[in-house]
Amino acid sequence: MRYAGAVVLGLAVVTVRVDAQANDDRLRGAFDPPTYASLHAVMDSARAAGLPAEPLVDKALEGAAKHASGERIIAVVRDLSARLADARTALGGYGTADELSAGTAALRAGIAPITLADLRRLRHNEQVTIPLAVAAELVARGVRPDSASARVLRLAAAGARDVELAALPHSIASPSVASSVSPPVVGAGEEAASPTSLNGPKAHGVIPAGTTKQKP
C-alpha cells in the first residue's frame, strides 16, 4: 500500500514536471528571448509564491496569438499573477489552479472578495470553481454583482451541487438573461437538445458553445 502510494506520488511529480516543461517550451517558442526571459521571471516568482503558472502561461500565449507587444504581455501576465494572489487570499489562502482562475475572473467581474470567502466556508470540502464561474457568468449576462453573489451563495448554502449551480444563469428572470433560452452550461453525460439552431445568428443565439454532446 505504501509502495502504491509512492508510485502515485512519483507519477504526480513526473506529470507536474512534464507539464512545466511543456509550458516552458510553449513560451520559448512563442516569444523573443528578452520577452521570454521576463515572462519566465514572472512565472518563477509566481511559483515561488505558491501560485499556479498555468493561467499565466495561457495568458501570455493569448497575448502572443493576438499579436500584442511583448511589453503589454509582460504587464498583463504580471497583473494576472497579482490577481491570482488576491483570489487566493480571498479564498482563505489556498486553492487549486482552477479555483484561483475562477476566483480571479469573479473578482474582475465585480464579485466582492467576501463572496469568495463565504463560498469557501460554505463548501469547505468541495471545490468552488463552478460557483465562482457561475457568479462571473451571471455578471457577464447582465446581473448585478451583488445580486449574482446572493444567488450563488443562497444555492451553495442550500447544498446545491455544481451541476445545479451551473444551471443558475439560465433559470433566473432578468431582462438581459431572458434572451438566452438554452443553457450553455451542461453537465458531462448530458445530451444536448439541438433545436434548429444552425441557420442564422438569431437561431444560433439559442445554443452557444455550451451545446454539448457527451461521446459514448
Binding site: D58, V76, A133, A136, V186, A188, L198, N199
Partner: protein
C-alpha cells in the same frame, strides 16, 4: 484528454474562408482547432473540455478575432479583442 464534456462551437458566418476556435483549452494555438463549414454556411467543431470556466474566441480568415455571439463575454479584455466564456459543469453523480 479522455474525460470531460464535448462542447460544440458554432459560428454562422457564411462568407468566411477559414474559422478556428482558440482558447485556454488549446493554449491559444490558432492551428489546433479549425471549424468545418456546413452547407448552410455555419462553421462548427467540437472540443472536449474539462469542468470549469473556459475563455475562447473565434479567429476568422486568419486575422479577425470574433467573440461568440451566443455566449457571454469574459470579464476584461487584456489584448484588445474580447473573449467569450463557457462554463462546463461536471457530470451529476
Amino acid at each position: 484528454m479522455t474525460d470531460g464534456t464535448v462542447v460544440q462551437f458554432t459560428l454562422p458566418i457564411p462568407a468566411a474562408h477559414q474559422v478556428v476556435v482558440v482558447g485556454d483549452f488549446n493554449h491559444w494555438d490558432t492551428r489546433a482547432t479549425p471549424l468545418r463549414r456546413t452547407p448552410n454556411g455555419t462553421w462548427r467543431t467540437t472540443v472536449r473540455l474539462n469542468p470549469g470556466a473556459h475563455v475562447y474566441s473565434f479567429v476568422v480568415d486568419g486575422n479577425r478575432w470574433v467573440p461568440d455571439p451566443a455566449a457571454p463575454l469574459a470579464p476584461g479584455s487584456d489584448f484588445g479583442s474580447p473573449n467569450s466564456l463557457v462554463t462546463v459543469a461536471p457530470g451529476a453523480t
